[in-house]
């Protein structure tokens, strides 16, 4: 039986490479990602991601929804930064309408976006440990994530797919408990990042599995179009919050953390440091939420003028771009999302080439992929 399997044309290539499939039902691919891997012994020669298992045609669906309705469906793309996705969509509509969002809404949006980023990075940190065989970090990460989800639940009404943003501002004002609870979170999270470091970052076994593997050079990072922590680990300065500030990012001070080596370890460290930066952004804003309206006046049926509108935001994984093409009607003519995960995944083949198969999962974990965002 085994002999027969080996003789199958797909299993072994003419050069003697062994071809295996990882996924689409593999726990470490974080979703339905299918990787076809060509192996020479234990060395990875080529990685080919096969996509399309969770394609829901969100872009096409949005074309039949009004400008108020299409925001909710983008929560289902990168579900870990749902709030930031919604923000990008609302920014595009606001750009088309030319409305000025009230200051209060801008600041609250920014705080919620940073909370989303924290929750997303906390989950990534747990999964990173899980992918390398450490189960404990997962539970520690969920402690913080649960706290953030509770804050979201109290203010937005939903834990994950918030849909709290409407074109022109926010759906409702913040809950009275929001400010004290967020302050409590900042205090708790700061202390818990030290626990993260004690548990996983300082672990020599973990360090040796991530250091000096999975190099992505600066040139390759740019040519593959990577963004977010993946590109910043290779030294590419690409933070949209810094270079093209939207909402309230122009009124806060924060560092754009850049790496130098671009290996798996650098990508790990950058995300840990980003959590601290997010905390400092929230800390700067939480005491200075201006009074005022939470939503700018817009018509019940929004009609954008003819033209193209492009907005970009920094999600937890990189740059998300939303292109709206309007023909003057009440629904968009064309919607295009430039999703960060798709570009980041394209770099996986380059990163993994020549490394051992055991490190492949570690590299994939540092890319922090969310597959529904790749397929959309």
């Amino acid at each position: 039986m085994i002999e027969h399997n080996l003789l199958e044309p797909d299993m072994i290539t003419e050069d003697g490479d062994f071809v295996i499939n990882i996924g689409p039902q593999h726990p470490s691919t974080h979703g339905v990602l299918h990787l076809k891997v060509w192996l020479d012994g234990e060395t990875v020669k080529k990685v080919e991601p096969h996509l399309g298992y969770i394609h829901r045609s969100i872009e096409k669906m949005c074309e039949s929804l009004s400008y108020r309705q299409y925001i909710f469906s983008t929560s289902r793309m990168d579900y870990l930064s749902a709030h930031i996705n919604n923000q990008a969509c609302a920014l595009a509509v606001e750009m088309g309408l030319g409305v000025e969002v009230p200051d209060r809404a801008k600041v609250i949006r920014t705080i919620l976006a940073e909370l989303t980023r924290l929750a997303s990075h906390a989950l990534w940190w747990g999964c990173m440990g899980l992918d390398l065989g450490a189960v404990t970090p997962f539970f520690y990460a969920f402690r913080e994530r649960e706290f953030i989800n509770d804050i979201m639940e109290e203010t937005c009404g939903a834990r994950l797919t918030q849909n709290f943003i409407v074109p022109g501002g926010l759906m409702a004002d913040i809950h009275p408990n929001f400010v004290p609870k967020t302050k409590e979170l900042i205090k708790m999270f700061r202390a818990n990042i030290d626990e993260y470091n004690q548990l996983l970052t300082g672990n020599v076994i973990f360090q040796q599995r991530t250091q000096n593997v999975g190099f992505l050079s600066k040139e390759a990072a740019i040519s593959y179009g990577t963004s977010g922590p993946v590109a910043r680990a290779s030294g590419v300065s690409c933070d949209v919050r810094k270079h093209y500030p939207y909402d309230a990012y122009d009124r806060v001070q924060f560092k754009e953390i850049l790496g130098t080596t671009g290996d798996s370890w650098e990508r790990y460290v950058i995300r840990i440091d980003e959590m601290r930066e997010s905390l400092s952004i929230i800390e700067q804003l939480i005491d200075n939420i201006p009074e005022g309206d939470i939503v700018a006046k817009t018509k019940q049926v929004i009609k954008l003028p003819k033209g193209e509108f492009y907005s970009r935001v920094e999600t937890a994984r990189g740059e998300l771009g939303v292109l709206l093409v309007s023909d003057g009607g009440s629904t968009p003519y064309r919607v295009k999302f430039r999703s960060p995960n798709f570009s980041n995944l394209s770099a996986l083949g380059h990163i993994a080439k020549g490394s051992k198969i055991g490190d492949l999962v570690a590299m994939m974990a540092t890319l922090d992929l969310v597959i529904p965002d790749v397929d959309r």
């Binding site: 539970f139 649960e146 109290e154 009404g157 004690q198 040796q208």
Partner: protein, 160 residues
């Protein structure tokens, strides 16, 4: 790698493992700091507190006279992104002889609802609110199609 550095790596690995286990050991001995709750036991103990804005399902509150606030304007139906709401209206004869639009059935497809809150935003008379119920699983899909207005309910006087 020389033998000396190999041995020192082994020892530093063990040391870092122990420092991690010190943390897990701390939580193992400090039960009060553990935040995990047991579901559904926490429901009985009253530890499961849902915030008032929680989006469980769309509900239509009726007062003690079996009156609701829905005028049948269908704003919610238009605002729903996935067609979970269907409102069937009828013409009702008023006491003064004039005819007026009123709801016959307010159909809510819970199986299609994504709890996006857009219908509640759109309602001009606050006739519908989000309820707290979240355990929606049933064995028969037909049970997820709900009619929200109660039988023989009327529009509250004064709601336009």
């Amino acid at each position: 790698m020389g033998l000396g550095s190999y041995i020192s790596t082994v020892f530093s690995s063990v040391k870092s493992l122990l420092s991690g286990m010190k943390l897990t050991g701390y939580y193992f001995t400090h039960h009060k700091e553990i935040v995990t709750q047991q579901y559904p036991e926490n429901k009985r103990e009253g530890a499961l507190i849902l915030p008032e804005r929680f989006r469980g399902e769309v509900t239509m509150p009726h007062d003690e006279n079996n009156e609701h606030r829905c005028t049948g304007c269908q704003s919610c139906e238009l605002s729903c992104p996935n067609g979970s709401i269907k409102i069937i209206t009828k013409q009702e004869v008023q006491p003064d002889g004039k005819k007026k639009k009123a709801i016959d059935t307010w159909v809510y497809h819970l199986d299609m609802c994504t709890f996006c809150n857009l219908c509640i935003e759109a309602c001009p008379t606050q006739a519908i609110v989000m309820g707290q119920e979240f355990e929606h699983s049933v064995f028969d899909k037909k049970k997820l199609k709900k009619i929200l207005n109660k039988p023989d309910s009327k529009l509250k006087a004064g709601v336009e």
